[in-house]
């Protein structure tokens, strides 16, 4: 080759190497700065950080749960989880008629330092009762289209009227008071209800009820979702959308201590070692958004994340006979098991002429009997689930541990009999049923499984895959004949599951099957205002009986979570409804340095 060619080639090669080698060797400097930070993987993109305008997805809620706070929070260690005071100073005083709650607010709680506090040069201002009222008005403000308005709508005095007035006027009037929210003085807040609302303390732990300062809203407006300001243990540092969200410890966080009460296994597993220490126990948190299962799991194995849910395809190599495989144990990895308070199901549109209503009851029952739940659990959950006997999951108030659903016995004979009873012996004459499901490889595989199951008794199923908005759209518009979904408890009360079947909650509300049974509706109205008592439980059981008989959903499983945590990661304890957990985690930096070398 010519000199020049040779030189040119060499030049290109050298250039490439000079770029590749040093950069490939560049150490991840950032990891040293974040050594004492919690590294959380996030399975889906976080949408935004504004409690009023960001939709109700779990991942945004978790992100917000570390920055903001509400009046109440769930007990971290005690089970079943129960609401305890967070920003509230002690439990509220409840009136005899159960319609008035009086909260005292902790004194001296400061908002994060932020430029939006112009008058005090960026120093965070003290929290007052008015701040709660302001934050809650934002939920009712039609301009925010808040996903969380339901927590107060129809239950708090005057809030629906305030909102209707805003709609008519074209814009909300924040100067106008809401009867149901009264700031008696700077640190006292009263909530006046239309009727007893036993779930009030639950919803005051939830994302929509979080408090934020009006200065932040006035300064940032729509950009608040990228620039949150709250009272929480962490403050916002930076966010590279769809990649990484970083929070730093809030130096002005109020004096909150690690709990001293827990269950027996908390003591033995070391989760009470930090009792009484001031929170947060770490210096910050780095959320990394990774949608694909494999890269997320592999990153955990390399020590880049502190915990991970085991994807179904990695399960067999990680866990054998409910125990971690040796390789993991050597690296200090710990297996954490818990039952999630959720239910997965195949839903029917009760308004559909074929599968809905009284007419389709035997078809629905037949399909329930044809599901091989054990095989489903084996293939898709690696055995990490329990067959659901009804919609209500274990460890939720109102769960019926003795319930056995006679339809969920995987009895093909029974299924065929029921199908015959429905008028379609062996499926003859039954038109093809369309099953809607959201996109995703695993979703696709699960619906193929469903298709095969139904094929066994002669029912033809066509699978229709959708993007998430299309999927939601079809359900809300009542166009989905059958659909596969799951519901995770907003709070640990069976009522949260029963409201899925309450007539008035039909689409576009959460009653996605559009089930409307007057007898059930009456019972629901009754329990909606009852506190937790044996009588209420009895009615709960009766309601569940109706739902099992009518099966507007085929109740599949309640999932168990098997989470792996790295050896240096302390105090992990999972509950789907408890979102503000990062402050309790502790990183053993010594152990981290030692163990990471092994990975």
């Amino acid at each position: 080759m010519t000199d020049f060619l040779r030189r040119y080639f060499l030049f290109t090669v050298c250039l490439s190497f000079s770029v590749i080698v040093p950069l490939g060797c560049t150490k991840n400097e950032s990891s040293d700065e974040f050594e004492n930070y919690v590294h959380e993987p996030v399975k889906a993109n976080i949408k935004g950080l504004d409690p009023a305008t960001t939709g109700g997805d779990l991942y945004s809620a978790v992100a917000m749960g570390q920055i903001y706070e509400g009046l109440m929070q769930y007990s971290y260690l005690e089970r079943p989880i129960k609401p305890e005071p967070s920003l509230a100073d002690g439990m509220p005083v409840i009136s005899k008629d159960l319609k008035t709650y009086e909260f005292k607010i902790k004194k001296g709680v400061l908002f994060h330092d932020d430029p939006c506090f112009r008058t005090s040069n960026g120093r965070g201002r003290e929290l007052t009762a008015d701040d709660f009222i302001f934050s809650w008005k934002r939920l009712a403000d039609p301009a925010n289209h808040s996903d969380g308005f339901w927590i107060f709508d129809g239950k708090v005095n005057g809030i629906t009227e305030w909102r209707d007035a805003a709609v008519k006027r074209g814009a909300a009037d924040y100067a106008k008071p809401i009867d149901g929210f009264e700031a008696v003085d700077k640190y006292t807040l009263k909530i006046h209800l239309k009727r007893p609302y036993p779930q009030l303390l639950y919803v005051l732990t939830m994302t929509p009820s979080y408090v934020l300062p009006h200065e932040a809203v006035e300064t940032y407006g729509q950009e608040l979702q990228n620039h949150p300001v709250g009272t929480g243990p962490y403050k916002f540092r930076s966010w590279t959308r769809n990649a990484r969200l970083i929070y730093d410890k809030n130096p002005n966080y109020r004096n909150e201590l690690y709990p001293s009460n827990g269950e027996t296994q908390d003591k033995t597993e070391g989760r009470l070692d930090d009792a009484g220490k001031k929170l947060p126990l770490n210096d910050g948190v780095v959320f990394t958004e990774i949608i694909e299962d494999q890269p997320r799991f592999l990153n955990f194995r390399k020590g880049e994340f502190d915990w991970v849910e085991i994807p179904k395809d990695n399960f067999d190599s990680s866990v054998v006979n409910d125990e971690l495989t040796a390789g993991f144990k050597d690296q200090g990895v710990v297996l954490n098991k818990s039952i999630d308070q959720d239910v997965t199901f195949d839903g029917f549109n009760m308004e559909d002429p074929v599968v809905g209503g009284a007419k389709g009851k035997y078809i629905r029952q037949a399909m329930t009997a044809a599901i091989d739940t054990e095989n489903l659990i084996k293939k898709f959950y690696n055995g990490r689930a329990v067959s659901a006997q009804g919609p209500v999951p274990p460890s939720v108030v109102g769960y019926d541990p003795g319930r056995k659903n006679s339809l969920k016995t995987y009895d093909i004979g029974l299924a065929k009999t029921l199908l015959k009873k429905a008028g379609y012996p062996d499926g003859i004459g039954l038109p093809e049923i369309v099953y809607e499901t959201p996109d995703g490889t695993t979703m696709r595989q699960m619906s193929e499984f469903f298709q095969q199951e139904m094929g066994r008794i002669g029912i033809k199923v066509r699978i229709s895959m959708n993007t998430w908005p299309q999927f939601v759209d079809k359900i809300k518009n009542r166009k989905a004949q059958m659909f596969g979904l799951a519901w995770a408890a907003d709070y640990p009360d069976a009522e949260n599951f029963f409201q899925l079947f309450y007539g008035p909650n039909s689409s576009p509300g959460p009653n996605q099957s559009n089930y409307n049974n007057p007898e059930f509706n009456k019972l629901y109205d009754k329990v909606a205002v009852m506190a937790d008592t044996p009588e209420r439980n009895a009615i709960y059981h009766k309601m569940e009986d109706i739902l099992v008989e009518d099966c507007p959903y085929i109740y599949d499983v309640h999932r168990k979570s098997f989470v792996l945590t790295n050896g240096w990661f302390k105090n992990y304890k999972r509950n789907l409804s408890l979102l503000n957990y990062v402050k309790y985690y502790r990183i053993d930096t010594q152990a981290k340095r030692k163990l990471r070398k092994k990975l």
Binding site: Q294, F297, D313, D316, S317, D439, I463, S464
Partner: protein
């Protein structure tokens, strides 16, 4: 008068490519052993696809079995997938889908490209402007967006894949055909045909088109490659065939989760099957190009 005209030898006027071009091409191809080998491979795949379509072979590809993720063995040559379905049978069905994509998208795209290109090149002026505007517009929209939008409208599934690929890949062919028609319409033989009273349509499709048909042939061959590779991406995005149907794209999509469990057979089966078919098409297309028209080597 009429008599005298009829005496003129039509064959010199019509200039349909005489045995010359095709015979020559065929002869050149025949000598290229590699190309013949590729043609044989392609034919084998097509035969397999046909047999699968007719249900003669691999008809029980959907049969679920008890051994989930079984490694290749005597019973299952290429192992099984999550539901115990035989991977070899799935690969064969995938062949059927791959070949059908090439065929059907050609049936859709080629007429569109040819007709529009011919009309544009031949008539020129306003018609040309409109067609060029149209395909420039269509072409400037990123391919993936077009395909995804169409799948939204048409729903998912193989049928929608056919149409979306067919309706988005005709532009290249159209451009080439238009260029050729622009050149040819000024040639003597066309003028002669027109003098003989041939209508526009006749001139376009009976006289000119056969002269540019080799472009169509090459494009047809290329289309298989594009179609097969696009289907893989579409399946990854969830826009491919219906769930339950195995295609190579679906198998590769499954594989991205399976590697973690050490299950490599679906990935290898689909990739290798696809590799040999696409490679054969690639080599054959090149050979075809060289044989048919050395000047065409410049164009994609």
């Amino acid at each position: 008068m009429a008599n005298a005209q009829q005496v003129v030898n039509i064959s010199t006027v019509s200039q349909v490519p005489s045995a010359g071009l095709w015979m020559d091409a065929f002869r050149r191809l025949r000598k290229d052993r590699l190309a013949i080998l590729c043609l044989a491979i392609i034919s084998t795949y097509s035969l397999v696809a046909l047999l699968a379509w007719l249900g003669v072979i691999a008809s029980d590809y959907a049969a679920i079995g008890p051994d989930s993720y079984a490694a290749p063995s005597a019973k299952h040559f290429l192992g099984t997938d999550i539901f115990g379905r035989d991977v070899l049978l799935r690969t064969i069905q995938g062949t059927r889908i791959a070949i059908s994509i090439g065929l059907v998208t050609s049936i859709i795209a080629i007429p569109i490209g040819v007709v529009l290109g011919a009309v544009a090149g031949y008539f020129g002026s306003f018609v040309d402007e409109v067609v060029v505007w149209f395909y420039t517009t269509v072409d400037s929209i990123p391919d993936l967006l077009k395909i995804i939008a169409l799948s939204f409208v048409l729903g998912r599934g193989l049928f929608s894949v056919y149409i979306s690929i067919g309706f988005t890949t005709w532009v290249g062919l159209c451009r080439l055909i238009r260029g050729e028609f622009l050149k040819h319409k000024e040639r003597d033989y066309v003028h002669a045909a027109s003098a003989l009273g041939a209508s526009h349509t006749r001139r376009m499709f009976v006289h000119i088109l056969p002269n540019v048909f080799h472009i169509v042939l090459i494009n047809f061959s290329l289309r298989f490659i594009i179609g097969i590779k696009t289907e893989v991406v579409l399946s990854y995005l969830g826009l491919g065939v219906e769930p339950g149907q195995p295609s190579w794209g679906v198998m590769i999509d499954d594989a991205k989760l399976e590697l973690a469990r050490g299950v490599w057979w679906q990935l290898v089966a689909a990739t290798v099957a696809m590799f040999f078919l696409v490679l054969s098409f690639n080599i054959f297309t090149d050979a075809l190009r060289e044989a048919l028209d050395p000047k065409l080597r410049n164009t994609k």
